[in-house]
């Protein structure tokens, strides 16, 4: 109960992360998805960068790591906030109480995972 209250009190933080995630999703993701998720798999472009040995080198760069960290975690908080608020509209009272815990907790958990993965590369 106490934890749930604390999570609710952090609403300005969740909203700010949501906003930052919205910026990342709007400005950065379209180009990345288009190249990495569509153009490369379809063979439209074949940059030399996308093989194991070059990628390991590039992702090893701390600046790239920081970029990837925010590119992953901020969109997660963005989605967590929106999905939580949308599900609240179903008006299932017991669920509404734990939605912030599930979604912000989930995003925070994945943030830790991202951090560990990036540090280990």
């Amino acid at each position: 109960m106490c934890l749930l209250k604390k999570i609710n009190a952090l609403e300005p933080l969740w909203w700010s992360l949501f906003g930052a995630g919205g910026m990342v999703a709007a400005f950065l993701l379209p180009a990345h998805i288009f190249i990495q998720g569509i153009a490369i798999p379809l063979g439209w472009v074949s940059p030399d960068m996308f093989n194991y040995s070059s990628l390991i080198g590039i992702v090893g760069n701390p600046i790239v790591k920081i970029y990837l960290f925010f590119m992953i975690i901020l969109p997660l908080y963005h989605a967590a906030h929106r999905i939580r608020l949308t599900l609240e509209d179903l008006r299932i009272e017991w669920l509404n109480h734990i939605l912030p815990l599930i979604f912000y907790g989930g995003a925070t958990g994945l943030t830790v995972v991202t951090l560990i993965v990036l540090i280990r590369i």
């Binding site: 995630g21 919205g22 910026m23 999703a25 709007a26 400005f27 950065l28 993701l29 379209p30 180009a31 990345h32 998805i33 288009f34 190249i35 990495q36 998720g37 569509i38 798999p41 379809l42 472009v45 940059p47 960068m49 996308f50 194991y52 040995s53 990628l55 390991i56 590039i58 992702v59 990837l68 590119m71 992953i72 975690i73 969109p75 997660l76 963005h78 989605a79 967590a80 929106r82 999905i83 608020l85 949308t86 509209d89 179903l90 008006r91 994945l110 995972v113 991202t114 993965v117 990036l118 280990r120 590369i121």
Partner: protein, 137 residues
């Protein structure tokens, strides 16, 4: 709160008022509500892409063999189709985001349209930058 269609709730002593309940399908009733829900749903695809990136990084940290088998999965036909769907939703998310940020930051002396247009210009420059780095970097 009463949840039946025609329920009476005696609010003040003098008059019995009624409240019309909103069905959970309210967002189907109006175009603007539907577009709103579509925007909210687009965030699911935003998260999905972030998780895909994380999976790819995981694979990368797991060595060459694991990376290559994961990369093969992301080259499969249904994965490409899924990425096209993700891309469409992310583009929609972007359009709504720029429209809203125009509204928030477009107060005098700036106008909302000006803010939205400058967002698109920045987006274009950033996107070209990203594509350049990915292809030539």
């Amino acid at each position: 709160m009463a949840h039946s269609m025609n329920s009476i709730s005696g609010k003040t002593e003098a008059t019995k008022t009624y409240r019309r309940d909103i069905p959970n399908t309210w967002w189907l009733k109006k175009g603007s509500y539907f577009l709103f829900i579509l925007r909210e749903i687009s965030s699911v695809f935003v998260a999905l892409y972030a998780i895909f990136l994380l999976i790819q990084l995981c694979a990368l940290s797991g060595g060459q063999e694991r990376y290559e088998s994961t990369a093969a999965v992301f080259k499969s036909g249904w994965m490409i189709i899924l990425h096209v769907v993700i891309w469409v939703f992310v583009m929609y998310n972007m359009v709504t985001w720029f429209r809203i940020s125009g509204r928030i930051f477009g107060a005098k002396p700036l106008s909302p349209v000006l803010v939205t247009i400058s967002n698109y210009i920045i987006w274009l420059i950033v996107s070209i930058g990203i594509i350049f780095l990915l292809l030539k970097g």
